[in-house]
Symmetry: C2
Subunit: 494 residues, 2 copies
């Protein structure tokens, strides 16, 4: 097989390193079959010269691809696309459409050779300020004795100071004593669910909502009832009906850049929601995990900041704004719940690692998070814009979606359920992973949906992914005899 010729545009203004741009291009071509298994790649010297970069850049790109199994090098023979890229059974699909199975798949998808994942609502790990972070860790070796010991269950005091400072700047009236450090939003929600609800109880969620909470509730034996969303947020008429009918222990909402829809609840709706829940004595659990990832106008204040009655429990984390691997988040709750949450945290896993907590505290104190957000928000905005343009350009008009105003997710709703049931499996066979919409739903839906995530993907990958998704949808639309009317609940607003 002759050496393939590679020619693509490198964006030198892009903060993504050149070697990563090159490896992403190669992954794209391998995934879509333009570079088949066994294809011979140019030599390092040749490709460096073609692209006008140093040989080290090409070596780094090849080395990343090789260690992840996409390509193979043999001394004296050259570099080839790995035969592994044909060896995977993408057609296996996602067997059981439960949140549990899907969470598992999402976490492992990035490790499958030949697959690109639009399934994980993650930040781009390549943008993480590793040097700054590791240098804080290194400094803390001087205080190793404290760092290797147990932390308090409520959380490292220095971290609680920084979290409360952070939240105060966002309009929340919070002191370090009010903050409970948790191992991410998943743990925060698990502690809250177990504290506020007993097995057999009902709680209300947005439809669609965060799949992790649905899984947590299921294992706790708590019933989730879905409340539909409109353009401004949860439909309050439906919410009131559900409160009357189900006597829920709380209403769970992601008001700002909702997962999976990317929507932001309007200020008016927030105020009405607080009034309505107060009238029925229903607590609100507010998940703010994407709250700082605003790409357009500033978002309205969190519900917790608007609340005057102590009816909101607030959960957030550093997984999306910084890195998921930290496993650090926080809960702020009215005093009558705070002690019980702390006690349950103690019974669950005692405390979070001291070294990571203190590292994050110093990183926040040094202004590291603000610097990082200033740098990455324009990049994520550009990716969002790329996604929106690609969706506008490619998607059939009968597919409904909403421009994400922040966060990492978009939610595409098909005009019907049939013939789209196998959409994510078909995409997997083509080397693309998206998340099946079913796992975000507390109630069955009439239409098929999928979630696609763009945060961790470069613009060219986003474009290629939307192409693949659109093509798969069109193929299935063509099998429908009659054109399907669009669904009024999901007006495209782009």
């Amino acid at each position: 097989m002759p050496t393939v010729s590679l020619d693509f545009h490198l964006d030198r203004a892009n903060p993504v390193a050149l070697y990563q741009q090159i490896s992403e291009h190669l992954k794209a071509r391998i995934s879509d079959g333009r570079l088949p298994a066994g294809a011979k790649l140019p030599t390092v010297r040749q490709l460096a010269s073609d692209l006008g970069v140093t040989r080290l850049t090409i070596q780094n790109a090849y080395s990343e691809l090789q260690s992840a199994g996409w390509i193979e090098s043999t001394v004296g023979r050259g570099t080839y696309v790995s035969h592994d890229v044909n060896g995977h059974s993408f057609g296996r699909g996602i067997v059981a459409l439960t949140p549990d199975a899907v969470i598992n798949d999402i976490l492992q998808l990035n490790q499958i050779v030949g697959l690109r994942s639009m399934a994980s609502a993650s930040p781009d790990a390549r943008l993480f300020p590793a040097e700054e972070f590791w240098s804080v860790i290194a400094e803390l070796q001087a205080d190793a004795v404290t760092m290797v010991s147990y932390s308090s269950s409520q959380g490292d005091p220095q971290l609680r100071v920084e979290i409360s400072r952070d939240l105060t700047e966002r309009g929340l009236d919070v002191t370090p004593d009010d903050v409970l450090v948790v191992a991410g939003v998943t743990q925060g929600l698990a502690l809250i669910s177990r504290t506020l609800a007993q097995p057999g109880d009902n709680i209300l969620v947005e439809q669609p909502t965060y799949l992790g909470l649905l899984h947590t509730l299921k294992l706790h034996g708590v019933n989730a009832i879905g409340v539909p969303l409109d353009d401004e947020g949860p439909d309050l008429g439906e919410l009131e009906q559900a409160m009357l009918r189900h006597r829920p222990r709380f209403f769970y909402t992601i008001p700002t850049f909702q997962n999976p829809t990317g929507r932001c609840m309007s200020l008016a709706r927030r105020l009405e929601l607080l009034e309505l829940c107060a009238a029925y004595g229903v607590l609100i659990v507010e998940d703010d995990i994407y709250g700082r990832l605003a790409y357009d106008a500033p978002s309205p204040p969190p519900l917790y900041a608007l609340d005057k009655r102590g009816q909101v429990l607030f959960v957030g984390s550093y997984s999306k704004v910084l890195m998921p691997g930290l496993r650090l988040g926080f809960v702020v709750a009215p005093q009558r719940w705070a002690d019980r949450l702390l006690s349950l945290r103690r019974a669950t896993d005692l405390c979070s690692p001291t070294l990571f907590q203190r590292t994050l505290a110093l990183f926040l104190r040094n202004g590291g998070l603000k610097r990082h957000l200033r740098r990455v928000l324009p990049i994520y905005r550009e990716r969002r814009n790329t996604l929106v343009s690609a969706l506008q350009r490619n998607l059939p008009p009968s597919v409904h979606w909403h421009q994400p105003q922040g966060g990492f997710c978009a939610w595409l709703t098909m005009p019907s359920y049939q013939p789209f049931t196998d959409l994510e499996q078909a995409l997997l066979r083509q080397g693309w992973a998206v998340t099946p919409g079913e796992v975000f739903l507390a109630e069955p839906a009439q239409q098929k949906s999928v979630r696609i995530c763009f945060g961790a993907l470069t613009p060219d990958v986003i474009n290629a992914g939307v192409d693949a998704v659109s093509k798969a949808i069109r193929e299935r639309l063509n099998t429908v005899a009659e054109p399907v009317k669009s669904n009024g609940n999901w007006t495209p607003l782009v």
Copy 2:
């Protein structure tokens, strides 16, 4: 007030740094009142000359004491014992004798100025191989993109390889696929309790047992029933009666270097226990957290290694052999439970931090744990010997205890309950913290007990602590009109 004169012996063969030996000596004198608040300490130059060490050593010791609040320095005036050491209300005591309140106190005791804690069953953080550990962390910056991302919920594959290798060497037949990484034994036990037992169910525990499990069971609504221990382990006659009466979901045991007693179950008892539990179809949850900290003969194989029927769930961690701040442990369970445990872990906190998992994996692969144990086991053995000698020398003969054969704990049982009820409060007033025995008990006891921990304390602190404990016990014994007969269940074996 004139400058006090300080004169004490430094042990240059001791791996504890000289500056730490000095700061420990000073803490001891401040705690017991020999150095009262306001006492003027020698200058750095003077003390360096008196003790024959460099000025840097004294500066380090003073600086540690100062940052922890024990002493105060004023430029031009000198260094004084802090007035804070009088400001604490040690008499506050531990108000509510619940495991929850006590866990909280244990975690915070080390931060109280003027107090020395024999309450925490922790390794000595000063012995931790910080340099080696931090250098592994530093290496992993090269793979930052992976390190800052989500891990799989089951645990980093490389860490599971090392854990299974470790367990195989201890006689357990375990593959990497069998290992579930958890955030410490507390989390492992919480996951197991929620998987095996429902609210209202009964489970059996040793009497006394690990207080963290009692707290976890309480919040889960599960009843713990205590089974007494004799010299070889749990009393199997009592265990059988309890199994018949309470139909427990499982029996929880710490066979090797039990917390809080330090005892090791004999091989014969292990084999009989497995037979008995098999006969009644009762699962065994084996907590091996102290299993490698053997100071005398090698301990018998874990129950999991002896089990032929898949009736044992095995939990362990690196908190005691390495560092608690890691928050990393593992569960190995028969396949029919493994999937449910993994699913519950996913619903609890998704996964452990990737960077810490991989750091531990490389540290284990490099032989770091074995090197560390070779270095620290002789130190802990010496501390255990110091404790045993001091208890033999000082304790009244009516106090019952058992020579700890491993781990960090000893368990002292008074001849009665009255007049010892205020024992831990009285010790707190004198600057010593011990753990009240009540929190380790599923059933009320006729005698007062306390747990004292020696792992993190140097021999001179252990001697001083045992002196204080013995004195407080004798004072209370003297208030008893009649000599109390010794309790046959707790024969002193030293």
